[in-house]
């Protein structure tokens, strides 16, 4: 006993160091496992809320799952949903509408965003207030923006109808979302209003990184504003534009909320898009298998788009 006591008293500092949790953590932080340990929480989170649902969605698309037809069971059905999709007219119409919706919305949002960013980048008096005002639409949730515009464009009470009639552009009030020829166009304009600040914000951040000397050099060389935009501004913003377009396209393809509020896919199927169709298949028809297959198609299309866009925009070249 006395021997053990003396042995302890001989090495007390190292013993204490081994027991101290802070010191143990310190030693761990200098080991090569530390990096992986730090990644564990985010990896778990991603596995739980991203990877698992994605894999489950894939799996769902190969199974039968109709909540209102429990008699059919939940068995494996192979490519049944994909084959059904091939001859589903609404699917093809939704695909076409999605292409139109995304293309025009992104073009308009990008153009408006670029103009806004170029204007805000000039640092003229009042640009700070203008900057906040321009960002306002983006702060509104889709649901609020949707209801607001539904009211503004209302066929009986809508203030926009009133203005257009007073200005002589329209003879009578128009039900924008009830006419198949105008519904998608009107919805795209609402989306453009709501989404352009996203581009304005990212492009403005990009513009701040373009050296002033380039514009000075171009000015001395004799290049006008349009040439400067084409030869300096847009090439310098290439990676920002690529990131913004990809993010926006993903957002537009995946979120049905604005169209759900404004038109619900109607009139008829004239504003039906893939995300809304998948949503309705799942929560109106309770056909989760088919909705899963639709989601997988959207996923593949988005992957293909992002891959092709990065290749075409040569964003990785320099």
């Amino acid at each position: 006993m006395a021997e053990r006591m003396s042995a302890l008293s001989q090495h007390p500092p190292s013993v204490w160091r081994r027991l101290d949790p802070a010191a143990a953590l310190g030693r761990l932080s200098e080991s090569r496992y530390w990096m992986y340990l730090l990644l564990v929480p985010s990896a778990i989170l991603i596995l739980a809320v991203v990877l698992y649902p994605t894999v489950y969605g894939f799996q769902l698309s190969f199974r039968q799952m109709r909540l209102n037809r429990p008699d059919l069971g939940t068995g494996f059905v192979g490519f049944k949903h994909y084959i059904a999709m091939w001859s589903d007219k609404v699917f093809w119409l939704s695909l076409r509408n999605t292409a139109v919706w995304v293309t025009f919305a992104v073009i308009i949002e990008f153009s408006l965003g670029l103009v806004a960013a170029l204007a805000l980048n000039r640092n003229l008096p009042g640009t700070k207030i203008m900057g906040v005002l321009i960002l306002l639409p983006f702060f509104l949730p889709n649901v609020v923006a949707g209801h607001m515009w539904a009211l503004l464009l209302d066929p009986r009470l809508g203030v926009i109808n009133d203005i257009l009639v007073r200005l002589g552009f329209l003879e009578t009030y128009k039900a924008w979302f009830a006419d198949p020829s105008t519904a998608l166009g009107a919805a795209i304009l609402v989306e453009a209003w709501h989404g352009f600040p996203f581009f304005a914000l990212l492009l403005l951040a990009g513009l701040k990184g373009v050296p002033d000397d380039l514009y000075k050099a171009a000015s001395v060389d004799g290049a006008g504003p349009i040439r400067q935009l084409r030869l300096i501004t847009l090439p310098m913003l290439r990676s920002v534009i690529a990131a913004a377009v990809i993010l926006r396209v993903i957002g537009l393809v995946n979120s049905p909320d604005l169209l759900l509020i404004l038109t619900g896919g109607g009139p008829g199927q004239s504003t039906q898009v893939l995300s809304l169709y998948a949503f309705q298949k799942a929560y109106k028809d309770f056909n989760f298998g088919y909705a899963g297959a639709l989601s997988v198609v959207m996923f593949v299309l988005l992957m293909l788009f992002a891959w092709a866009y990065v290749r075409v925009s040569k964003v990785n070249q320099d």
Binding site: D213, L214, K216, V220, A223
Partner: protein
């Protein structure tokens, strides 16, 4: 080639005066260096000459033509920037020829001009590359090629060598001087590097707070600085300043240094106006290389504080009363810290400044 004249050029941003009435006249073929610390207004002045900024008042003439309202592209100038400002998407060939392209020069003529400039600057093997694939020095050469290909009346350089490492900077400095000798174009060159100013300029305008402190050829600026700011800004190590009071002892003029451990420095030069200054408080300015070790008849004696051998010479920091001076002495000096050292002062290299205004008085 052309002359450049600035008459009373001012620039204010709100209440802040960046330039205060600048007057300048440049002869044909001159190389003017605008030298000064950050924020002294030198780049603003260059931008005003280029037409990239408008002056609040005053006139700018290139040749006989008043160019205040002339767009930069029509001033027949060429500019080289610190950041090179090469167009990132264009290959070197188009970068160099872009100014000519914008002026509608035929592709054949343009190609000849670009090839000539590229050969002169030794970048002819890089014509197909993009700026991103070039090194700093190569980019700077391309930027200079872009300027000379236009055969402008006036070259404007905005700190063109500041982004290069020391060795490359010295090389490009020589290159710029060679280019100026060869082309003979009038140049305005902005820098905060006094070595560049001394080596390149036919005249130097030292600026501070939007005012030209001194406009003179490099040696005058170095040997007879107009004030203590110029004296301290040009030269490394900078000029020694010793605060004290002038006195006459028989035929010799002396300076009794300020501070509690006051000591006396003999001034070898007896300028006529110095006699009238006896009893006056002054600041003595002596360049480090104007001292020589002299044990027999020293003009001043101090205690060695630090010895710094640099190779070609030895820097000796000397405590002199409560003040310190640095002397640049010969390479094989055998002195040690704590020893007493006697120094003589070269008679032609004494500057005297007014302690209040800082201006040169003799």
């Amino acid at each position: 080639m052309s002359t450049l004249t600035l008459n009373g050029v001012r620039k204010s941003f709100g209440a802040l005066d960046v330039l205060q009435s600048i007057d300048l006249e440049l002869e044909d073929g001159e190389f003017l260096v605008l030298l000064g610390p950050s924020g002294c207004g030198k780049s603003t002045l260059l931008n005003i000459i280029a037409g990239l900024e408008t002056p609040t008042s005053g006139d700018i003439f290139i040749g006989d033509k008043r160019v205040n309202d002339v767009h930069p592209k029509n001033r027949n100038i060429a500019m080289v920037f610190q950041s090179y400002a090469l167009y990132p998407t264009m290959p070197v060939e188009r970068n160099i020829g872009f100014g000519l392209e914008m002026r509608g020069v035929e592709p054949d003529t343009r190609k000849r001009a670009v090839d000539g400039a590229a050969r002169m600057l030794q970048v002819d093997h890089l014509l197909d590359r993009k700026p991103g694939q070039l090194s700093g020095g190569q980019r700077q050469r391309v930027a200079m090629g872009r300027a000379i290909v236009r055969e402008p009346e006036l070259f404007l350089f905005d700190e063109p060598l500041s982004n290069l490492d020391a060795k490359l900077r010295a090389e490009m400095r020589t290159e710029i001087k060679r280019l100026h000798n060869r082309l003979g174009t009038t140049v305005v060159y902005v820098t905060h590097d006094q070595i560049e100013a001394m080596t390149l300029g036919t005249r130097i305008a030292v600026m501070k707070g939007g005012v030209i402190q001194q406009l003179a050829d490099p040696m005058t600026t170095y040997e007879k600085p107009a004030n203590m700011f110029v004296a301290g800004f040009i030269g490394s190590p900078s000029m020694n300043f010793v605060h004290g009071t002038l006195a006459r002892e028989g035929d010799t003029t002396t300076l009794k240094t300020d501070g509690k451990d006051s000591t006396t420095i003999r001034l070898p030069r007896v300028a006529a106006n110095l006699e009238n200054l006896a009893g006056r408080k002054v600041v003595l300015g002596v360049r480090p290389e104007s001292f020589a070790a002299n044990a027999s008849e020293p003009d001043l004696t101090g205690t060695i504080d630090v010895v710094e051998p640099t190779g070609p010479d030895t820097l000796v920091v000397l405590a002199l009363g409560g003040q310190t001076i640095t002397a640049r002495l010969g390479p094989k000096l055998t002195v040690a810290t704590g020893e007493t050292l006697g120094l003589s002062i070269h008679p032609d290299s004494i500057s005297l400044f007014d302690p209040d205004s800082g201006n040169r008085i003799g």
